[in-house]
Amino acid sequence: MSGTAGAASLVPTERRPLVTLACIWIALIAAPFWMPLVGGYTALGSRILVIGLAAMSLNFLIGFTGVVSFGHAAYFGLGVYGAGMILRYVAPSTPLALIAGIVLGGVVGSAVGALICRRRGIYFALVTIAFEEVFYYIAYKWDSVTGGFDGLRGFQRQPLHFGAFVLNIEKSDLAFYYFVLAVFAIVVGVMGFVLRSPFGRTLLAIRENERRARFLGIPVDRHIWLAFTISSFCIGAAGALYALLNNFADPSSLYTDLSGELVIMAVLGGMRSFWGPLLGAAVFEVLQDYISGITVNWLFFIGAIFVLVVMFFPRGLLGVLRRRSAA
């Protein structure tokens, strides 16, 4: 699943993926404790997990199927609104909100995917943007329901009741972090599982060489549609978590800018690697915080870093690390 560096070079090669995986999960589980040591805080960790999940979901398409969607924030945004609207209008239930977000993002994504799975290249990219614009327009215009430009407010994430035990994610950042981590784990687990299945391998085939995939008998369009659907459900989940994180939903979560940022995160961290986008999201968020503290023109620097990565480090940060460890 991924490479490693430093101390792990003491570990025999066959064991490396498992060790790396263990390290990653240990780091994630222990995050609320080591983050403050480096100037972070728990809510930031939750945010990075959520955005990282969105980037990883997008990368399921870009990095593993080889299909570029520039409008995937649409399904993220639908997840945000789905969750928000349930909490605001239907019931004060976090699980219901979560499911609503996942379903809304996923079902709409699936429908769009069915329409465009036969297109490629620029056509595909543009249609994904076009649909996103449409959803943005709806969120913006239908302000009686969505709150329009100002967004949907007036809802709160609700504590989770497990029988007698109550996980107060409403008040406790720590509890919410572990809730997010749990959902993250499930969604990421599903993605990883799919990628390692025979079906997942057909996606790699399509990425590597679509013509050859077709000439092996793989129904390429259908598989692209399935990949689009899976990534939409996953990004919908990220969206729902985002609504719960901020207790707020607004059209910017649907906007092309966010789609672009997710693409940047995926590439920055490493498109070909499973965990790359999470790293990319972390780096992006930290950089954004840091650079925008220094200058208001942080977009220029992000753009410049991105351009450099594309030109010289197309495998992203994890690609650089892997090459180091192989040497």
Partner: protein
Amino acid sequence: MSMLEVRNASKHFGSLIAVREVSLSVAKGELRAIIGPNGAGKTTFFNLITGFFPPTAGEILFDGRNVTQLTAAERVKRGMARTFQITEVFPELSVRENVRIAAEVAAGYALRPWLGATAIRDIAATVEETVGLTGLAGKSHRLVGELAHGDQRAAEIAMALALRPRLLLLDEPTAGMGEQETFEIAGLIRKLHRDKSYTIILVEHDMRVVFHLADRISVLDQGALLADGTPEEIAANPAVQAAYLGKAA
């Protein structure tokens, strides 16, 4: 019953007639070579057979069934496997992974989320067998994109074999290869034909390979079928000689 029968197939690109009413019939277990000067329409003809695009006119029958309207992927499912002039493989995956994907798709596992132990074993066996057959056993863990040209071609053939095809179509398998590699690929094709009884259609430019391997040869020129016969008949055919000499002039 022939394995492949093409009836009056034509392909027009606008006003350009690339393939002109070509008919041929390939028997089971036969190795047929398709030759002809440059621009004769050989690859276009191949593309018609394999479903790369539909014919402007004519029919294609595969093992008695009319496949003219089927897509490429559908024809592959029926048992046609092909290699390309410019090797089409999965460059950033290993040889094993390349072949494994082919085997899994052929076994009908393309949509499976997971495989049971028996299935895993069967797939692994297929991979072992085809990798061994094509002489890539020692390099099977390497990325295909990093292999030498000849090995990449062998890997592509391995993928085609893993599909358990009934008809193997090889488009210029020795293109761009040196003496040694040509010898090895030709040997592999011969093994597949003689020992494994594959029905093979070959587009080739290298006449030594053609005359060494083919049971029958079809000659295309300017999109039309010029001659069709045994290697001896073709070698003695003055029209064929003229076609080649004419082009060389």
